[in-house]
Amino acid sequence: MTMSTPPEIVGFHARRTARWHWAEFAFWTVLIGCGLLFPSRYLIMTEIVRLGLFALSLDLILGYAGIVSLGHAAFFGVGAYSAGLLALHGIVGEPVLALLVAGLAAAVLGFATSFLVIRGVDLTRLMVTLGIALLLEALAERFSDITGGTDGLQGIVMQPLLGLFEFDIFGKVGFWYTVAVLFVLFLLARRVVHSPFGLSLRAIRNNPLRASAVGIPVNARLVAIYTFAAFYAGIAGALFTQTTQLASLDVFSFERSADLILVLVLGGTGYLYGGLIGALVFKLLQETFSILTPQYWLFWIGLVLVVIVMIGRERLHRWVLFLPRSIARAVRSGKTAAGGAE
């Protein structure tokens, strides 16, 4: 037993956990299957996928780096307005290219504000992230000649995707476009969180002091992941504008940031799929509550939040996973029993 772990062993374990699980293949198959099976539901499914991407972005900083943000909508909003302005003034006509530019704009903002966020304790972070989002909202309202003020950007017309696919009113192109973007970004995020860089982020989340003691440059890593997450949020915002042809002040709103945390908590933090599953559960809840009480679904969302916290997030996840886990255990013990009988 040596004192230090050789790099090969670390690499071996990292690769093992990074391997694709069969459930992951199932997840993406189901997602694509939904797209094929329910062509009349493209709009709501696009919303879910987009929200999933946005939550994935928050998961990168909250689940992996442990930064609690109350103002993640700031980057969503910057992405949304960038994409809208680019399309409106015909600066970058091609949607995919405009998407990248909008994401980069959000990333620049993320990089600039990350230095403010990494300073101080949790509470200061909450305040600063919240403050930045509110600041941007106030700015967008102030410069209404650029942003359209409370009316939002109007008259956005999207050019065909890659010059080939026209955005249709049923949202078919929009849906597959969003899914494709999500999948590419998901692969990238997956690669990042399983890399040594991602492992070091988890070390920082668990104990920043120890992480810096073993030689991890804590602040540089946090700046990097914050910028990266801002890029993702910007892309989600740009997708919002491109698929709905709309950008209004509420992209910056506090409710959007708060809902996002709920989405992530519903799905669970720190395993990338949390945001995607959470987005589905959240939209289903929202639909159900809207049918029950059209105007007051906010009450039920609030109740869900309170109940989740009172029961405890870990316990809740244990309950949810109880059935699948016990089935898996039964299958496994069945297999070994069968193997023993032979």
Partner: protein, 288 residues
């Protein structure tokens, strides 16, 4: 509008913010509990007062204490039922919980009272302005300054001189040692929490005239309460007090001189101060 009138309005606004937020200074600043739902208690007080005055025909000044009482009772019940389980939890859990409470309160009030702004019928004596050395002074704002000034002095004396005040300070400084000395720490916290909520309700009733009262009150003013506490720090009651005065005067002056920039000035100042002094202007540490 002269400079002095702006200053006067700013002070009244600041005092109001202080009464609204000083309960939060205790829960957030001292007990380190991120309570984003503080505004909901203020809203509750405001609506209780509005119902009593507008529908039951109570005089405004008689309804104010009831606003305090109602919010304090709600606060005490919620503290015993829910909040106390969360003192030791992570900040993320506390944020989720209190955001959930805010959402529930917003929708519930919207459901019961409707979404439009509520106006309070003020007695004649409190309306209009009086002219003092050429400065127009609103009577209502003068009353706010007097009441809130008295409250502040009372709070400071309670904290510094009474037995309960020293118990609270001990419980906050080191709960373990305090309970070892025979102080009933949970009870002290519960009482303080309830009292803070009551003050918020009182402030909410007073502020209906100035800040406006509608179901979105807790969300709209959340950031202001948080600014008061984080900028003011938590070492004493004077920190939040000075911070709320600064915020009040800054906001009123900003809206008057730079109306186009809106709340931009306030947020910028807050971010700059938090970067410069993460523990607040007058604070020692917000998180121990």
């Amino acid at each position: 509008m002269t400079l002095l009138t702006i200053l006067f309005d700013g002070v009244a606004y600041g005092m109001l913010l202080f009464v609204l937020a000083c309960g939060l200074a205790v829960t957030l600043g001292l007990m380190n509990f991120v309570n984003l739902a503080h505004g909901a208690f203020a809203m509750a007080g405001g609506y209780v007062c509005a119902v009593l005055v507008n529908q039951a025909g109570w005089p405004f000044l008689a309804a104010l204490p009831l606003a305090f009482l109602a919010s304090a009772v709600i606060g005490a019940v919620l503290e015993r039922l829910l909040y106390r389980h969360l003192y030791a939890r992570s900040h993320l859990d506390q944020v989720l919980f209190s955001v959930g409470l805010v959402f529930m309160s917003v929708a519930a009030v919207d459901y019961i009272m409707g979404s439009s702004r509520v106006f309070m019928q003020l007695p004649e004596a409190l309306q209009g302005q009086i002219d003092l050395f050429g400065v127009g002074i609103g009577r209502y704002r003068l009353m706010i300054i007097v009441i809130c000034g008295l409250l502040t002095v009372g709070l400071q004396l309670t904290l510094a001189k009474t037995r309960f005040g020293s118990r609270l300070r001990a419980a906050v400084d080191d709960p373990r040692v305090a309970s070892g000395l025979g102080i009933n720490v949970p009870q002290v916290f519960a009482l303080t929490f309830a009292f803070g909520c009551g003050l918020a309700g009182f402030g909410g009733a007073l502020s209906a005239e100035i800040l406006g009262l509608d179901p979105y009150f807790p969300l709209k003013f959340m950031i202001y309460f948080l600014i008061v506490v984080t900028v003011g720090g938590s070492s004493s009651i004077t920190g939040p007090f000075l911070a709320s005065l600064l915020l009040g005067i800054g906001d009123v002056a900003g809206k008057y001189y730079l109306p186009k920039l809106g709340p931009f000035v306030i947020y910028t100042i807050m971010i700059v101060i938090l970067i410069w002094r993460p523990n607040g202007l007058f604070g020692r540490t917000a998180a121990r």
